[in-house]
Symmetry: D2
Amino acid sequence: MQPRLRAGILGGGFMAEVHARAIRAAGSEVVLIASSSPDSSARAAARLGIHGIAPNARALIESDAVDVIHVCTPNAFHSEQAGLALLAGKPVVCEKPLATRVSDAEDLVSRARISVTPTAVPFIYRYYPAVREIRSRISHGSAGEMHLLHGSYLQDWLALPTTTNWRVDEKVGGSSRAFADIGVHWCDLMEFVTGHRITRLVSALSRSHPERGSTEDAASILFETDRGASGTLIASQITHGRKNRLHFSFDGELESYRWNQEHPGKFTASNQSSESTIYSGSAELSALSSQRLAHLPAGHPKGYQDAFNAFTADAYASFQDQNVDGLPTFVDGLRAAIITDAVLTSAQSGRWVDVVGPTDGTTAVTNNSLSVLDAALTQ
Amino acid sequence: MQPRLRAGILGGGFMAEVHARAIRAAGSEVVLIASSSPDSSARAAARLGIHGIAPNARALIESDAVDVIHVCTPNAFHSEQAGLALLAGKPVVCEKPLATRVSDAEDLVSRARISVTPTAVPFIYRYYPAVREIRSRISHGSAGEMHLLHGSYLQDWLALPTTTNWRVDEKVGGSSRAFADIGVHWCDLMEFVTGHRITRLVSALSRSHPERGSTEDAASILFETDRGASGTLIASQITHGRKNRLHFSFDGELESYRWNQEHPGKFTASNQSSESTIYSGSAELSALSSQRLAHLPAGHPKGYQDAFNAFTADAYASFQDQNVDGLPTFVDGLRAAIITDAVLTSAQSGRWVDVVGPTDGTTAVTNNSLSVLDAALTQ
Amino acid sequence: MQPRLRAGILGGGFMAEVHARAIRAAGSEVVLIASSSPDSSARAAARLGIHGIAPNARALIESDAVDVIHVCTPNAFHSEQAGLALLAGKPVVCEKPLATRVSDAEDLVSRARISVTPTAVPFIYRYYPAVREIRSRISHGSAGEMHLLHGSYLQDWLALPTTTNWRVDEKVGGSSRAFADIGVHWCDLMEFVTGHRITRLVSALSRSHPERGSTEDAASILFETDRGASGTLIASQITHGRKNRLHFSFDGELESYRWNQEHPGKFTASNQSSESTIYSGSAELSALSSQRLAHLPAGHPKGYQDAFNAFTADAYASFQDQNVDGLPTFVDGLRAAIITDAVLTSAQSGRWVDVVGPTDGTTAVTNNSLSVLDAALTQ
Amino acid sequence: MQPRLRAGILGGGFMAEVHARAIRAAGSEVVLIASSSPDSSARAAARLGIHGIAPNARALIESDAVDVIHVCTPNAFHSEQAGLALLAGKPVVCEKPLATRVSDAEDLVSRARISVTPTAVPFIYRYYPAVREIRSRISHGSAGEMHLLHGSYLQDWLALPTTTNWRVDEKVGGSSRAFADIGVHWCDLMEFVTGHRITRLVSALSRSHPERGSTEDAASILFETDRGASGTLIASQITHGRKNRLHFSFDGELESYRWNQEHPGKFTASNQSSESTIYSGSAELSALSSQRLAHLPAGHPKGYQDAFNAFTADAYASFQDQNVDGLPTFVDGLRAAIITDAVLTSAQSGRWVDVVGPTDGTTAVTNNSLSVLDAALTQ
């Protein structure tokens, strides 16, 4: 049994709580926290049951008491703080978006490569058993060629024009909101599950409440993949009644798979002659990777925190040189930044734009020399 | 009570059966049928319980025994047969697509105007109580400004590459398949319910099984409307497990409405503080137009044939000079042809294209001088 | 082709409308109506488009213009009017309950037997394709022995204590309400689909609003069947939010079947290794009897009126000496009366009571000498 | 901040894992484990990451290293091991059934009272935010008088006759299986949420696979409550396709509430004019007790482990003399044993039987002198 890693958390909001629970569930300890001010740090420390408070981000990152850095601050701070962690040679879990500019994300990936520091970005929807099961089935050819990849990610917490949040402020949240916040989750999941990569896209943004700033409330894209599939995605934060509905339908020649994040314990596999509902935890899960994640019997719902815990456990295992399959790293964070940039560019130009990168040289630096992107294809 | 209209049906397939049942449910009689050959006509007549057989389409149209013409033949014949009916001065119910070319559809609308002949095209999803209720609520401002109009129309009957049908043959079915068959239903419903009109769109077509011909298996569009909303639609005939799933979410500033054609007896109205499921036939239907259509108590499911019957009853009432609200006519058939043409054009050019028309002069000829397109706005 | 039967309808309410539409859809004509008063008859005639009005029930029944009698009056009148129809030697479709006393129902069955007059009682839920398919699968042994037969029939139209209706008045509606109105539908469907017959039951009645009279608002039963299964049913008219939810789960050794009347176009067939959703109209319907009823493609919803139409078409075919499978007759109406009586008796005594009959001698008189009860076993 | 409690776990199966995760999530430590044999203990310790192994249950219970005892062994051992824990004066979390005989459960409650030792039994479905919200609404009178309390708890893991498990062996599992395993969860939840108590019941048991032993595969009951409501429950372990479906509908005069454990993040509240779906984590949760449990935004699913964690956190808080609302204790375990006994008695006699106790004297000993049963009424 390896020594426990000691974690430090930057940020004191909702995501800091989720990270803290996950770190503890992985058997590790949160030893330090630093939020935006001493007061804020003290409140967060009390709320989360953390004994140590660092005076600022840099002090936390450089503290000898801390082995792993968790970046849970507002978007604009991510790349700088992640960069400091890499400079300190410490493994880092950085909330998405990894950076609000592609160049910053590229820079982080380079630094991680050079310093050989392991990283992770919580694209945690990869950590539901149903998701792994579908990925396994597609990679084994159960569905034949994939033709149509479509779905949506719908929320309503910004539906009313009067609602606001730091995410709405372009300076803090970045120049994309709905797509960068939730659209990238869908794209990451699609590429992870199908092994396809988006090569071109055309987009449209909706700014329904311009009084709230310039970032989009909703984004839609049409896309093509490197293996000839077509796709459609709508990401919205203004669809009343949808709380956190990430839904996909991946349609192949022989079979279609559908999954809804709000009911994560099951998915449907349909072919011409039958539509089956398959439950996580049942004997129908054939992939080892999905069985590993389904540690409750079927019908005992697994939730968001369970997925987050599984991601964190894998990240920490990776930080301790174990091989894990499918861990999202800074390379995946860079990929999300590249797609987001393409979405903004297309919306402005009204044209289809190409989506390129990261290149192979870059992907080669994923943790444990395991190419996450290749893993999707060869599992 | 007015004299019963006597109907003649062109075509002997599945849709001919649906029309025949609807004509009888409206209290009228089917007196003649003509299918593709004498044999086929005889078989269809026996199956549908029709006593008279016409030797060919022209003979049926010109027969003195027939007051109303129903065009239920393969797509390529629609415009010619509808044109003959107009020439004979007889009201005509023509299956969609009204024509496979915009110019033909325009020509039919002109002829209908000049001959003052009433027409109808079965965009029958307008005839569910839930649809009318949502339309009424939107027109009364319950949702505020509409921002996002999104949804899908998914089928699977052509999912396997080996499945074929006359619809697959471009010469018989027309140059668009998935969009012209089902995408136009969604667009008609969206424009009917919201009162918005598509002004621009960009599209992508998927031809997953090229061995089956050149028409698309799936089509996706991003669109903008004349009132500033954004929209997304995916229409597919190759999504395993989806039988006939027309689904929409119309998201306004204050409320979102969702409806699924496969469970037509209810819809959801969501706002920031609650998500309500509303049942057709319950006291919650506030619009007269929806109460009129809901002649069964809540929980007693209404189906496709009920909606078709209601459409047909309204068409026949219109043919006898009664005012009816929301009847789809050749003008709506032309609108569908124009949108389909824009979808094909955009897919080829990779550009956003404008969607224009029909012009006001044209819309003025809808039955009973009632502008269907205006009705959506002023109900 | 046989001559059309001419129908007369007793009663002018909601059910009269449903019968009228079904008669017409079957290609027959409604020639006479008689409601509770001349005024009421005139209004109903106008609303339903019926040209002839009879001065009273007896006159309608005895009119030479009428071949078939439909009894759609309040419950207390059913047995007398059905008896008059039998006396006149005319086929009769009588709404359930056939009679509010077992002895009256027995008397009607005897009279039908002696006069060799065909009869029908609209247990119309038998006429959904999904129901026939499940029945066929069970009779072919797909599920092995049936062990648990459970479900519910839930409505809310009497949930508020202030709501009332003639059904609430014991003198007009009979001494059982929730069970006699809707519970019997579930029991008929269970016995029809599984081929099991209830042999013993214990019941509890709920009279939540005693100010509304003495009939029950809800009834629950535990039961045993002649083949060793256990069962549970709850029937309620006071469950807010449930409009007309008849639901069953028939659990066998190898497979369970579930169906919900509010979404009639599909059912689930589950076994240990998979849960399949099966759509009416799809290629997965294996029984001829279900294919016959599913005349729309999968995903095109069939509704309550479609089922009623199919029942009526079969009843009329039976009245004209055709063999039809599974038509509910007065024998089934008597069966419902016997079960209702057992429910009331058990609720009063607090004991399990036996459910016996009708005897074989009685069942032998079903239309066309076809034993409906046997048909469930031998299809 | 109080000192952390150190936990010892008896048993090494699935439930031991769930307890271990919950103990750690509560910030405490699992220091010792003892399973059925040294080998089994070693394997469980490795799997669960526990460093200390006790040679047997007694040694674990009496170890100075352990503050709290978790009893996760097969049913037959519960009462003896819980008794030893009480003898040692250590707080104990005992899996249900607390005992397989009423007298043993009564004895444990007495001993806990005399020794003033706090206890807990994981009726963890009380720990979903939706459940607390419904409880609060009912106690505040939102639904008026409750009339009908019905539902089911359905599983399929014992559907095939060949499946077996220690639970099937009466000597190890006790004389009731389906009811004692899952039926009691439903009854506990019903009494907790509504504040009603079952006073009488009649039951039927189904032993579908007698070759598997004498305990029931399914149990159904009709019941009455002390406040005049009627109820129905079916508990089954042989319903194919149902994995862990605990469902209830609590119907009041003004409103009905429905919840399904497999989709725990939402419930429906229906009245005559609307059916609302309410999401955990949304602003619609009005009860403090539900807000406290919903620490994720709406749409981020909470699962079984989250509920178990919340139960465990409350149990540990209670063990450290904090007041917590609604913690299930040995009194509730005794209540479950009494109801189970009544179910077995009624099934044998075929009669309604009374359900009495525990008496007030007994309930007064719940942790922190807080009467859990009273709390349901006065919250």
